[in-house]
Amino acid sequence: MFDLSYTLTIVLIGTMVLGAISGMLGVFIVLRRQALIGDALSHAALPGIMIAYLLVGVRSLEVLLIGAFVSASLAMILLNVIKKYTTIKFDASMALILSGFFGFGQMLLSHIQKSGAASQAGLSRFIFGQAATMLRGDVLIILSVAFVVLLLILLFYKELKLYIFDEAFFKALGLNEKLTSTLLTMLVVIVIVIGIRMVGVILMSALIIAPSVASRQLSDRFSVNFMLSGLIGALSAGVGTYLSATRANLPTGPMISVVLGTFVLFVLLASPKHGLIKRHILVYMYKYQIRKYRKLIHLYENPSETELNPTEYSYFIDNNYLKLESGQIMLTHKALKKIRSIKAVD
Protein backbone atom coordinates (compact mmCIF):
# COMPACT_ATOMS: atom_id res chain seq x y z
CA MET A 1 0.00 0.00 0.00
CA PHE A 2 2.93 2.35 0.53
CA ASP A 3 4.17 3.21 -2.88
CA LEU A 4 7.22 5.28 -2.07
CA SER A 5 8.92 6.40 -5.22
CA TYR A 6 12.25 8.17 -5.04
CA THR A 7 10.62 11.56 -5.61
CA LEU A 8 7.99 10.98 -2.96
CA THR A 9 10.63 9.89 -0.45
CA ILE A 10 12.55 13.11 -0.99
CA VAL A 11 9.37 15.16 -0.62
CA LEU A 12 8.36 13.27 2.52
CA ILE A 13 11.73 13.89 4.13
CA GLY A 14 11.33 17.58 3.35
CA THR A 15 7.86 17.96 4.81
CA MET A 16 8.58 15.85 7.87
CA VAL A 17 11.63 17.93 8.73
CA LEU A 18 9.55 21.07 8.19
CA GLY A 19 6.80 19.65 10.42
CA ALA A 20 9.32 18.84 13.14
CA ILE A 21 10.96 22.26 13.15
CA SER A 22 7.60 24.10 12.99
CA GLY A 23 6.26 22.01 15.84
CA MET A 24 9.28 22.64 18.06
CA LEU A 25 9.34 26.38 17.38
CA GLY A 26 5.57 26.52 17.84
CA VAL A 27 5.91 25.52 21.50
CA PHE A 28 7.65 28.84 22.21
CA ILE A 29 5.17 30.89 20.19
CA VAL A 30 2.04 29.27 21.57
CA LEU A 31 3.21 29.41 25.20
CA ARG A 32 3.99 33.07 24.67
CA ARG A 33 0.36 33.49 23.54
CA GLN A 34 1.42 34.74 20.15
CA ALA A 35 -0.01 31.94 18.04
CA LEU A 36 -1.68 34.38 15.68
CA ILE A 37 1.59 36.08 14.78
CA GLY A 38 2.53 33.03 12.73
CA ASP A 39 -0.74 33.32 10.86
CA ALA A 40 -0.32 37.02 10.14
CA LEU A 41 3.30 36.67 9.01
CA SER A 42 2.69 33.71 6.71
CA HIS A 43 -0.15 35.50 4.93
CA ALA A 44 2.09 38.55 4.71
CA ALA A 45 4.70 36.56 2.76
CA LEU A 46 2.52 36.35 -0.37
CA PRO A 47 3.08 39.82 -1.89
CA GLY A 48 6.84 39.38 -1.43
CA ILE A 49 6.79 36.23 -3.55
CA MET A 50 4.87 38.00 -6.32
CA ILE A 51 7.07 41.11 -6.28
CA ALA A 52 10.20 38.95 -6.38
CA TYR A 53 8.79 37.16 -9.42
CA LEU A 54 7.88 40.45 -11.12
CA LEU A 55 11.36 41.84 -10.51
CA VAL A 56 13.33 38.78 -11.60
CA GLY A 57 10.95 37.20 -14.08
CA VAL A 58 11.87 33.58 -13.38
CA ARG A 59 10.40 31.14 -10.90
CA SER A 60 13.51 30.31 -8.95
CA LEU A 61 12.62 29.13 -5.45
CA GLU A 62 15.52 30.92 -3.78
CA VAL A 63 14.55 34.28 -5.24
CA LEU A 64 10.88 33.86 -4.39
CA LEU A 65 11.70 32.85 -0.82
CA ILE A 66 13.89 35.90 -0.38
CA GLY A 67 10.88 37.96 -1.49
CA ALA A 68 8.72 36.11 1.06
CA PHE A 69 11.27 36.76 3.78
CA VAL A 70 11.46 40.49 3.05
CA SER A 71 7.70 40.88 2.98
CA ALA A 72 7.07 38.88 6.18
CA SER A 73 9.83 40.82 7.98
CA LEU A 74 8.30 44.08 6.81
CA ALA A 75 4.96 42.94 8.23
CA MET A 76 6.65 42.20 11.56
CA ILE A 77 8.23 45.64 11.67
CA LEU A 78 4.89 47.23 10.83
CA LEU A 79 3.22 45.26 13.63
CA ASN A 80 5.77 46.60 16.10
CA VAL A 81 5.38 50.16 14.84
CA ILE A 82 1.58 49.94 15.21
CA LYS A 83 1.98 48.53 18.71
CA LYS A 84 4.38 51.25 19.77
CA TYR A 85 2.82 54.34 18.24
CA THR A 86 -0.92 53.72 18.04
CA THR A 87 -3.69 52.66 20.37
CA ILE A 88 -4.86 49.87 18.03
CA LYS A 89 -5.13 46.59 19.91
CA PHE A 90 -2.58 43.94 18.94
CA ASP A 91 -5.10 41.39 17.67
CA ALA A 92 -6.75 44.03 15.50
CA SER A 93 -3.41 45.12 14.05
CA MET A 94 -2.55 41.50 13.26
CA ALA A 95 -5.84 41.09 11.42
CA LEU A 96 -5.16 44.32 9.52
CA ILE A 97 -1.67 43.22 8.49
CA LEU A 98 -2.84 39.73 7.55
CA SER A 99 -5.70 40.87 5.32
CA GLY A 100 -3.87 43.87 3.90
CA PHE A 101 -0.75 41.98 2.82
CA PHE A 102 -2.63 38.90 1.65
CA GLY A 103 -5.09 40.99 -0.37
CA PHE A 104 -2.23 42.82 -2.04
CA GLY A 105 -0.50 39.51 -2.80
CA GLN A 106 -3.64 38.04 -4.34
CA MET A 107 -4.06 41.13 -6.48
CA LEU A 108 -0.49 40.81 -7.77
CA LEU A 109 -1.01 37.11 -8.42
CA SER A 110 -4.13 37.77 -10.52
CA HIS A 111 -2.24 40.44 -12.44
CA ILE A 112 0.66 38.06 -13.14
CA GLN A 113 -1.65 35.23 -14.17
CA LYS A 114 -3.43 37.51 -16.65
CA SER A 115 -0.14 38.26 -18.36
CA GLY A 116 -0.09 34.61 -19.40
CA ALA A 117 3.68 34.18 -19.32
CA ALA A 118 4.61 30.49 -19.27
CA SER A 119 6.92 30.86 -16.30
CA GLN A 120 4.15 32.07 -13.99
CA ALA A 121 2.42 28.69 -13.85
CA GLY A 122 2.84 27.34 -10.37
CA LEU A 123 2.92 30.64 -8.51
CA SER A 124 -0.58 29.93 -7.22
CA ARG A 125 0.81 26.85 -5.47
CA PHE A 126 2.11 29.17 -2.80
CA ILE A 127 -1.44 29.74 -1.62
CA PHE A 128 -2.17 26.18 -0.49
CA GLY A 129 1.18 24.51 -1.09
CA GLN A 130 2.08 21.61 -3.35
CA ALA A 131 4.78 19.45 -1.89
CA ALA A 132 4.64 16.70 -4.52
CA THR A 133 6.03 18.87 -7.30
CA MET A 134 9.11 19.91 -5.39
CA LEU A 135 12.54 19.16 -6.73
CA ARG A 136 15.47 17.65 -4.88
CA GLY A 137 17.24 21.00 -4.82
CA ASP A 138 14.20 22.67 -3.24
CA VAL A 139 14.12 20.08 -0.47
CA LEU A 140 17.85 20.55 0.15
CA ILE A 141 17.37 24.28 0.72
CA ILE A 142 14.62 23.54 3.22
CA LEU A 143 16.70 20.92 5.02
CA SER A 144 19.71 23.15 5.46
CA VAL A 145 17.67 26.11 6.69
CA ALA A 146 15.74 23.88 9.11
CA PHE A 147 19.05 22.57 10.44
CA VAL A 148 20.27 26.10 11.17
CA VAL A 149 16.98 26.99 12.88
CA LEU A 150 17.15 23.88 15.06
CA LEU A 151 20.73 24.68 15.98
CA LEU A 152 19.75 28.20 17.04
CA ILE A 153 16.80 26.96 19.11
CA LEU A 154 19.02 24.45 20.90
CA LEU A 155 21.78 26.99 21.52
CA PHE A 156 19.39 29.55 22.99
CA TYR A 157 16.98 27.03 24.49
CA LYS A 158 17.45 28.17 28.08
CA GLU A 159 17.20 31.89 27.26
CA LEU A 160 14.13 31.40 25.06
CA LYS A 161 12.39 29.37 27.75
CA LEU A 162 12.96 31.96 30.47
CA TYR A 163 12.01 34.77 28.09
CA ILE A 164 8.60 33.28 27.28
CA PHE A 165 7.93 32.28 30.90
CA ASP A 166 8.90 35.47 32.73
CA GLU A 167 9.92 38.40 30.57
CA ALA A 168 10.36 40.83 33.49
CA PHE A 169 12.69 38.50 35.37
CA PHE A 170 14.57 37.83 32.13
CA LYS A 171 15.20 41.56 31.77
CA ALA A 172 16.00 41.95 35.46
CA LEU A 173 18.79 39.40 35.08
CA GLY A 174 20.34 41.80 32.59
CA LEU A 175 19.72 39.48 29.64
CA ASN A 176 19.08 41.17 26.32
CA GLU A 177 15.35 41.19 25.72
CA LYS A 178 15.45 42.90 22.31
CA LEU A 179 17.91 40.36 20.96
CA THR A 180 15.85 37.44 22.19
CA SER A 181 12.52 38.69 20.93
CA THR A 182 14.08 39.49 17.55
CA LEU A 183 15.65 36.03 17.40
CA LEU A 184 12.33 34.36 18.16
CA THR A 185 10.43 36.36 15.55
CA MET A 186 13.14 35.88 12.95
CA LEU A 187 13.04 32.13 13.49
CA VAL A 188 9.27 32.18 12.98
CA VAL A 189 9.66 34.17 9.76
CA ILE A 190 12.37 31.82 8.49
CA VAL A 191 10.34 28.68 9.23
CA ILE A 192 7.31 30.20 7.53
CA VAL A 193 9.37 31.09 4.50
CA ILE A 194 10.75 27.57 4.02
CA GLY A 195 7.33 26.08 4.67
CA ILE A 196 5.12 28.03 2.29
CA ARG A 197 6.24 26.17 -0.82
CA MET A 198 5.05 22.92 0.74
CA VAL A 199 2.10 23.99 2.88
CA GLY A 200 1.10 27.37 1.46
CA VAL A 201 0.75 30.78 3.09
CA ILE A 202 -2.82 30.24 4.29
CA LEU A 203 -2.28 27.12 6.35
CA MET A 204 1.39 27.37 7.31
CA SER A 205 0.42 28.59 10.77
CA ALA A 206 -1.45 25.33 11.44
CA LEU A 207 1.86 23.51 11.32
CA ILE A 208 3.32 25.91 13.88
CA ILE A 209 0.35 26.07 16.25
CA ALA A 210 -1.44 22.70 16.21
CA PRO A 211 1.42 20.37 17.23
CA SER A 212 2.19 22.37 20.37
CA VAL A 213 -1.48 22.60 21.30
CA ALA A 214 -1.67 18.80 21.06
CA SER A 215 1.54 18.19 22.97
CA ARG A 216 0.41 20.53 25.78
CA GLN A 217 -2.52 18.17 26.35
CA LEU A 218 -0.14 15.26 26.72
CA SER A 219 2.61 16.58 28.96
CA ASP A 220 3.40 19.19 31.61
CA ARG A 221 7.15 19.14 30.97
CA PHE A 222 8.62 21.82 28.77
CA SER A 223 11.27 19.56 27.25
CA VAL A 224 8.72 16.82 26.58
CA ASN A 225 6.37 19.37 25.03
CA PHE A 226 9.22 20.53 22.82
CA MET A 227 10.13 17.07 21.55
CA LEU A 228 6.57 15.75 21.36
CA SER A 229 5.47 18.78 19.39
CA GLY A 230 8.27 18.16 16.90
CA LEU A 231 7.26 14.52 16.60
CA ILE A 232 3.57 15.33 16.11
CA GLY A 233 4.49 17.96 13.53
CA ALA A 234 6.70 15.53 11.62
CA LEU A 235 4.20 12.69 11.62
CA SER A 236 1.23 14.86 10.66
CA ALA A 237 3.19 16.53 7.89
CA GLY A 238 4.30 13.12 6.65
CA VAL A 239 0.82 11.62 6.63
CA GLY A 240 -0.70 14.74 5.11
CA THR A 241 1.90 14.89 2.36
CA TYR A 242 1.57 11.20 1.57
CA LEU A 243 -2.20 11.52 1.25
CA SER A 244 -1.92 14.63 -0.86
CA ALA A 245 0.71 13.19 -3.18
CA THR A 246 -0.93 9.82 -3.72
CA ARG A 247 -4.63 10.79 -3.91
CA ALA A 248 -5.30 12.88 -7.02
CA ASN A 249 -2.71 15.50 -6.06
CA LEU A 250 -4.73 17.38 -3.49
CA PRO A 251 -2.94 20.48 -2.21
CA THR A 252 -0.63 19.62 0.68
CA GLY A 253 -1.55 22.42 3.11
CA PRO A 254 -5.20 21.45 3.52
CA MET A 255 -4.33 17.75 3.83
CA ILE A 256 -1.80 18.40 6.61
CA SER A 257 -4.25 20.74 8.34
CA VAL A 258 -6.97 18.10 8.28
CA VAL A 259 -4.61 15.48 9.71
CA LEU A 260 -3.43 17.92 12.40
CA GLY A 261 -6.95 19.04 13.21
CA THR A 262 -8.12 15.45 13.62
CA PHE A 263 -5.19 14.67 15.85
CA VAL A 264 -5.70 17.75 18.05
CA LEU A 265 -9.37 16.90 18.42
CA PHE A 266 -8.56 13.33 19.37
CA VAL A 267 -5.97 14.40 21.94
CA LEU A 268 -8.24 17.05 23.44
CA LEU A 269 -10.85 14.37 24.05
CA ALA A 270 -8.73 11.36 24.91
CA SER A 271 -5.48 12.58 26.42
CA PRO A 272 -4.78 10.57 29.57
CA LYS A 273 -3.41 13.74 31.16
CA HIS A 274 -5.72 16.67 30.43
CA GLY A 275 -8.30 15.03 28.13
CA LEU A 276 -11.93 16.12 28.35
CA ILE A 277 -13.17 12.54 28.68
CA LYS A 278 -10.92 11.89 31.65
CA ARG A 279 -11.88 15.17 33.28
CA HIS A 280 -15.59 14.47 32.87
CA ILE A 281 -15.28 10.99 34.28
CA LEU A 282 -13.45 12.35 37.34
CA VAL A 283 -16.04 15.07 37.90
CA TYR A 284 -18.86 12.55 37.47
CA MET A 285 -17.28 10.13 39.95
CA TYR A 286 -16.83 12.93 42.46
CA LYS A 287 -20.46 14.00 42.24
CA TYR A 288 -21.64 10.40 42.36
CA GLN A 289 -19.65 9.75 45.53
CA ILE A 290 -20.98 12.83 47.27
CA ARG A 291 -24.55 11.78 46.46
CA LYS A 292 -23.98 8.20 47.50
CA TYR A 293 -22.26 9.01 50.79
CA ARG A 294 -24.09 12.21 51.69
CA LYS A 295 -25.54 10.67 54.88
CA LEU A 296 -22.07 9.64 56.04
CA ILE A 297 -20.73 13.10 55.27
CA HIS A 298 -23.57 14.63 57.28
CA LEU A 299 -22.78 12.46 60.29
CA TYR A 300 -19.09 13.29 59.95
CA GLU A 301 -19.76 17.03 59.96
CA ASN A 302 -22.35 16.77 62.78
CA PRO A 303 -20.90 14.32 65.30
CA SER A 304 -23.53 15.20 67.94
CA GLU A 305 -26.31 13.56 65.94
CA THR A 306 -26.08 9.98 67.08
CA GLU A 307 -29.61 8.97 68.02
CA LEU A 308 -30.94 7.98 64.64
CA ASN A 309 -33.15 5.35 63.12
CA PRO A 310 -30.85 2.45 62.14
CA THR A 311 -33.17 1.21 59.37
CA GLU A 312 -32.47 4.39 57.39
CA TYR A 313 -28.78 3.58 57.50
CA SER A 314 -28.94 -0.16 56.85
CA TYR A 315 -26.83 0.04 53.67
CA PHE A 316 -23.96 1.75 55.49
CA ILE A 317 -24.24 -0.55 58.50
CA ASP A 318 -24.22 -3.63 56.25
CA ASN A 319 -21.11 -2.35 54.49
CA ASN A 320 -19.20 -1.58 57.67
CA TYR A 321 -19.34 2.21 57.28
CA LEU A 322 -21.39 2.56 60.47
CA LYS A 323 -21.60 0.56 63.64
CA LEU A 324 -24.11 0.50 66.45
CA GLU A 325 -22.68 1.01 69.89
CA SER A 326 -25.15 0.96 72.79
CA GLY A 327 -27.93 2.25 70.57
CA GLN A 328 -25.82 5.02 69.07
CA ILE A 329 -24.63 5.14 65.47
CA MET A 330 -20.88 5.64 65.05
CA LEU A 331 -18.71 6.16 61.98
CA THR A 332 -16.22 3.34 61.44
CA HIS A 333 -12.61 3.75 60.46
CA LYS A 334 -13.55 2.73 56.93
CA ALA A 335 -16.11 5.56 56.75
CA LEU A 336 -13.63 8.16 57.98
CA LYS A 337 -11.15 7.07 55.35
CA LYS A 338 -13.80 7.24 52.63
CA ILE A 339 -14.97 10.74 53.61
CA ARG A 340 -11.43 12.06 53.80
CA SER A 341 -10.64 10.66 50.38
CA ILE A 342 -13.73 12.39 48.94
CA LYS A 343 -12.84 15.67 50.61
CA ALA A 344 -9.23 15.51 49.43
CA VAL A 345 -10.18 15.55 45.74
CA ASP A 346 -9.74 18.97 44.22
Binding site: K158, E159, L162, D166, F170, K171, L173, G174, L175
Partner: protein, 247 residues
Protein backbone atom coordinates in the same frame (compact mmCIF):
# COMPACT_ATOMS: atom_id res chain seq x y z
CA UNK B 1 27.88 56.80 54.39
CA UNK B 2 27.72 54.00 51.86
CA UNK B 3 24.45 53.67 50.04
CA UNK B 4 23.20 50.44 48.52
CA UNK B 5 20.63 52.29 46.45
CA UNK B 6 20.47 55.96 45.65
CA UNK B 7 17.78 57.67 43.59
CA UNK B 8 17.88 61.32 42.55
CA UNK B 9 15.17 63.38 40.87
CA UNK B 10 13.40 60.30 39.53
CA UNK B 11 10.16 60.93 37.66
CA UNK B 12 8.16 58.34 35.74
CA UNK B 13 5.04 58.91 33.67
CA UNK B 14 2.74 56.72 31.63
CA UNK B 15 1.86 58.92 28.67
CA UNK B 16 1.17 62.26 30.36
CA UNK B 17 0.19 60.91 33.76
CA UNK B 18 2.90 61.10 36.40
CA UNK B 19 3.31 57.90 38.42
CA UNK B 20 6.42 58.92 40.32
CA UNK B 21 7.32 62.53 40.89
CA UNK B 22 10.75 63.84 41.85
CA UNK B 23 11.79 60.86 43.96
CA UNK B 24 14.94 61.18 46.06
CA UNK B 25 15.94 58.19 48.16
CA UNK B 26 19.11 57.18 49.91
CA UNK B 27 19.05 53.62 51.17
CA UNK B 28 21.97 52.52 53.34
CA UNK B 29 23.56 49.10 53.04
CA UNK B 30 22.23 46.22 55.07
CA UNK B 31 18.75 47.46 55.94
CA UNK B 32 15.34 45.90 55.60
CA UNK B 33 13.13 48.53 54.01
CA UNK B 34 9.40 48.47 53.40
CA UNK B 35 7.82 50.65 50.73
CA UNK B 36 4.23 51.38 51.70
CA UNK B 37 1.53 53.48 50.10
CA UNK B 38 -2.00 53.30 48.68
CA UNK B 39 -2.93 51.68 45.36
CA UNK B 40 -1.52 53.63 42.45
CA UNK B 41 1.16 55.21 44.63
CA UNK B 42 3.87 53.99 42.26
CA UNK B 43 5.41 51.37 44.56
CA UNK B 44 5.83 48.71 41.86
CA UNK B 45 6.80 51.36 39.36
CA UNK B 46 9.65 52.44 41.60
CA UNK B 47 10.95 48.86 41.72
CA UNK B 48 10.54 48.47 37.97
CA UNK B 49 12.39 51.72 37.31
CA UNK B 50 15.19 50.58 39.62
CA UNK B 51 15.51 47.31 37.70
CA UNK B 52 15.54 49.06 34.34
CA UNK B 53 12.24 47.40 33.37
CA UNK B 54 10.69 50.74 32.54
CA UNK B 55 12.33 53.89 31.35
CA UNK B 56 12.16 56.87 33.69
CA UNK B 57 11.47 60.36 32.36
CA UNK B 58 14.35 61.75 34.34
CA UNK B 59 16.62 61.03 37.24
CA UNK B 60 19.58 58.91 38.17
CA UNK B 61 19.66 55.55 39.90
CA UNK B 62 22.83 54.14 41.45
CA UNK B 63 23.56 50.85 43.18
CA UNK B 64 26.62 50.88 45.42
CA UNK B 65 27.61 54.11 43.59
CA UNK B 66 27.54 52.34 40.24
CA UNK B 67 25.05 52.38 37.37
CA UNK B 68 22.61 49.51 36.92
CA UNK B 69 24.42 47.87 34.00
CA UNK B 70 27.61 47.35 36.05
CA UNK B 71 25.91 45.72 39.01
CA UNK B 72 22.99 43.91 37.38
CA UNK B 73 24.27 40.50 38.47
CA UNK B 74 24.27 41.76 42.02
CA UNK B 75 20.58 42.66 42.10
CA UNK B 76 17.97 40.09 43.08
CA UNK B 77 14.33 40.39 42.07
CA UNK B 78 11.09 38.83 43.24
CA UNK B 79 8.33 39.94 40.85
CA UNK B 80 4.66 39.87 41.79
CA UNK B 81 3.58 36.29 41.49
CA UNK B 82 0.66 37.27 39.26
CA UNK B 83 3.14 38.38 36.61
CA UNK B 84 3.61 34.91 35.15
CA UNK B 85 1.38 32.16 33.81
CA UNK B 86 1.45 29.40 36.43
CA UNK B 87 0.02 26.93 33.89
CA UNK B 88 3.32 27.10 32.03
CA UNK B 89 4.60 23.53 31.57
CA UNK B 90 7.59 23.50 33.87
CA UNK B 91 8.70 22.23 37.26
CA UNK B 92 9.48 23.97 40.53
CA UNK B 93 13.13 23.00 40.16
CA UNK B 94 13.38 24.52 36.67
CA UNK B 95 11.86 27.82 37.77
CA UNK B 96 14.28 28.18 40.68
CA UNK B 97 17.26 27.29 38.48
CA UNK B 98 16.32 30.27 36.28
CA UNK B 99 17.76 32.47 39.04
CA UNK B 100 21.22 31.34 37.92
CA UNK B 101 20.75 32.22 34.23
CA UNK B 102 22.31 35.66 34.65
CA UNK B 103 25.47 34.10 36.09
CA UNK B 104 25.61 31.14 33.72
CA UNK B 105 25.69 33.34 30.64
CA UNK B 106 24.35 32.87 27.12
CA UNK B 107 24.30 29.44 25.50
CA UNK B 108 26.15 27.70 28.37
CA UNK B 109 24.44 24.98 30.39
CA UNK B 110 23.94 25.11 34.18
CA UNK B 111 26.89 23.66 36.10
CA UNK B 112 26.84 21.23 39.00
CA UNK B 113 27.28 24.19 41.33
CA UNK B 114 24.20 25.90 39.90
CA UNK B 115 22.18 22.75 40.44
CA UNK B 116 23.40 22.39 44.01
CA UNK B 117 22.51 26.02 44.72
CA UNK B 118 19.01 25.32 43.39
CA UNK B 119 18.53 22.40 45.75
CA UNK B 120 19.82 24.43 48.70
CA UNK B 121 17.50 27.34 47.94
CA UNK B 122 14.53 24.99 47.63
CA UNK B 123 15.40 23.51 50.99
CA UNK B 124 15.71 26.95 52.54
CA UNK B 125 12.18 27.96 51.57
CA UNK B 126 10.80 24.56 52.54
CA UNK B 127 9.94 23.53 48.98
CA UNK B 128 12.46 20.75 48.42
CA UNK B 129 9.85 18.00 48.48
CA UNK B 130 8.02 19.80 45.67
CA UNK B 131 11.05 20.04 43.43
CA UNK B 132 9.66 17.85 40.66
CA UNK B 133 6.11 19.17 40.93
CA UNK B 134 4.40 21.08 38.19
CA UNK B 135 4.18 24.77 39.06
CA UNK B 136 0.44 24.64 38.29
CA UNK B 137 -0.07 22.40 41.32
CA UNK B 138 1.21 24.99 43.80
CA UNK B 139 -0.80 27.14 46.19
CA UNK B 140 -0.29 30.90 46.25
CA UNK B 141 2.09 30.70 49.19
CA UNK B 142 4.12 27.94 47.55
CA UNK B 143 4.36 29.96 44.33
CA UNK B 144 5.73 32.86 46.34
CA UNK B 145 8.31 30.64 48.02
CA UNK B 146 9.44 29.37 44.61
CA UNK B 147 9.98 32.96 43.49
CA UNK B 148 11.92 33.66 46.69
CA UNK B 149 14.15 30.64 46.15
CA UNK B 150 14.78 31.80 42.60
CA UNK B 151 15.87 35.21 43.89
CA UNK B 152 18.03 33.65 46.61
CA UNK B 153 20.20 31.82 44.10
CA UNK B 154 20.81 35.05 42.24
CA UNK B 155 23.25 35.49 45.12
CA UNK B 156 22.78 39.24 45.11
CA UNK B 157 23.72 41.98 47.58
CA UNK B 158 20.50 43.94 47.12
CA UNK B 159 17.03 42.46 46.71
CA UNK B 160 13.83 44.00 45.39
CA UNK B 161 10.64 42.18 46.28
CA UNK B 162 7.31 43.24 44.82
CA UNK B 163 4.45 42.38 47.21
CA UNK B 164 5.88 39.06 48.45
CA UNK B 165 3.17 38.85 51.13
CA UNK B 166 0.31 39.22 48.66
CA UNK B 167 -2.16 36.33 48.97
CA UNK B 168 0.05 33.97 50.98
CA UNK B 169 -0.85 31.72 53.91
CA UNK B 170 0.33 32.34 57.47
CA UNK B 171 3.04 29.68 57.21
CA UNK B 172 4.53 31.30 54.12
CA UNK B 173 4.29 34.77 55.62
CA UNK B 174 6.32 33.59 58.62
CA UNK B 175 8.84 31.83 56.36
CA UNK B 176 9.30 34.99 54.30
CA UNK B 177 9.82 37.17 57.37
CA UNK B 178 12.41 34.74 58.69
CA UNK B 179 14.17 34.77 55.34
CA UNK B 180 14.18 38.57 55.20
CA UNK B 181 15.84 38.74 58.62
CA UNK B 182 18.40 36.14 57.55
CA UNK B 183 19.26 38.14 54.45
CA UNK B 184 19.70 41.24 56.58
CA UNK B 185 21.93 39.30 58.99
CA UNK B 186 24.11 38.39 56.00
CA UNK B 187 24.54 42.09 55.29
CA UNK B 188 22.19 42.16 52.29
CA UNK B 189 19.95 45.12 51.56
CA UNK B 190 16.32 44.17 51.08
CA UNK B 191 13.65 46.46 49.63
CA UNK B 192 10.10 45.18 49.90
CA UNK B 193 6.91 46.60 48.42
CA UNK B 194 4.32 46.05 51.11
CA UNK B 195 0.62 46.80 51.54
CA UNK B 196 -0.18 45.94 55.15
CA UNK B 197 0.40 48.83 57.55
CA UNK B 198 -0.16 46.68 60.65
CA UNK B 199 2.90 44.52 60.10
CA UNK B 200 5.32 47.30 59.15
CA UNK B 201 6.79 47.68 62.62
CA UNK B 202 7.36 43.97 63.06
CA UNK B 203 8.84 43.26 59.63
CA UNK B 204 11.03 46.22 58.67
CA UNK B 205 13.59 48.52 60.21
CA UNK B 206 13.31 51.24 57.57
CA UNK B 207 10.21 52.58 55.92
CA UNK B 208 9.43 54.63 52.82
CA UNK B 209 5.95 56.09 52.63
CA UNK B 210 5.14 56.70 49.01
CA UNK B 211 2.30 58.34 47.18
CA UNK B 212 3.70 59.42 43.82
CA UNK B 213 6.05 61.59 45.86
CA UNK B 214 8.07 60.36 48.83
CA UNK B 215 6.01 61.37 51.87
CA UNK B 216 8.54 60.20 54.42
CA UNK B 217 11.68 58.06 54.44
CA UNK B 218 13.82 56.87 57.33
CA UNK B 219 13.87 54.38 60.15
CA UNK B 220 10.51 52.90 61.08
CA UNK B 221 10.57 54.67 64.43
CA UNK B 222 10.95 58.07 62.79
CA UNK B 223 8.60 57.56 59.88
CA UNK B 224 5.77 55.41 61.24
CA UNK B 225 3.72 58.21 62.77
CA UNK B 226 -0.03 58.86 62.51
CA UNK B 227 0.57 62.19 60.73
CA UNK B 228 2.83 60.64 58.08
CA UNK B 229 0.42 57.79 57.46
CA UNK B 230 -2.52 60.14 57.20
CA UNK B 231 -0.58 62.26 54.74
CA UNK B 232 0.30 59.21 52.63
CA UNK B 233 -3.22 57.87 52.40
CA UNK B 234 -4.91 61.21 51.90
CA UNK B 235 -6.12 61.76 48.37
CA UNK B 236 -5.11 65.43 48.77
CA UNK B 237 -1.41 64.87 48.28
CA UNK B 238 -2.26 63.22 44.98
CA UNK B 239 -4.62 65.98 43.95
CA UNK B 240 -2.27 68.83 44.74
CA UNK B 241 0.16 67.31 42.31
CA UNK B 242 -2.48 66.96 39.63
CA UNK B 243 -3.65 70.53 40.05
CA UNK B 244 -0.13 71.70 39.29
CA UNK B 245 -0.41 69.83 36.04
CA UNK B 246 -3.76 71.12 34.83
CA UNK B 247 -2.46 73.80 32.52
Amino acid sequence: MDYAFKVEDLSVAYDKKPVLWDIDLKIPKGILLGIVGPNGAGKSTLVKAALNLIKPLSGSILFFDQPYKKVVKNIGYVPQKGSVDWDFPTTVYDVVLMGRYGHIGWIKRPSKKDKEATIQALDKVGMLEYKNHQISELSGGQQQRVFLARALIQDADIYFMDEPFQGVDVKTEKAIVKLLKELKALGKTVIVVHHDLHTVKAYFDWLTLLNIKVVAHGTVDEVYTPENIKKTYQADSLLSLESDFDV
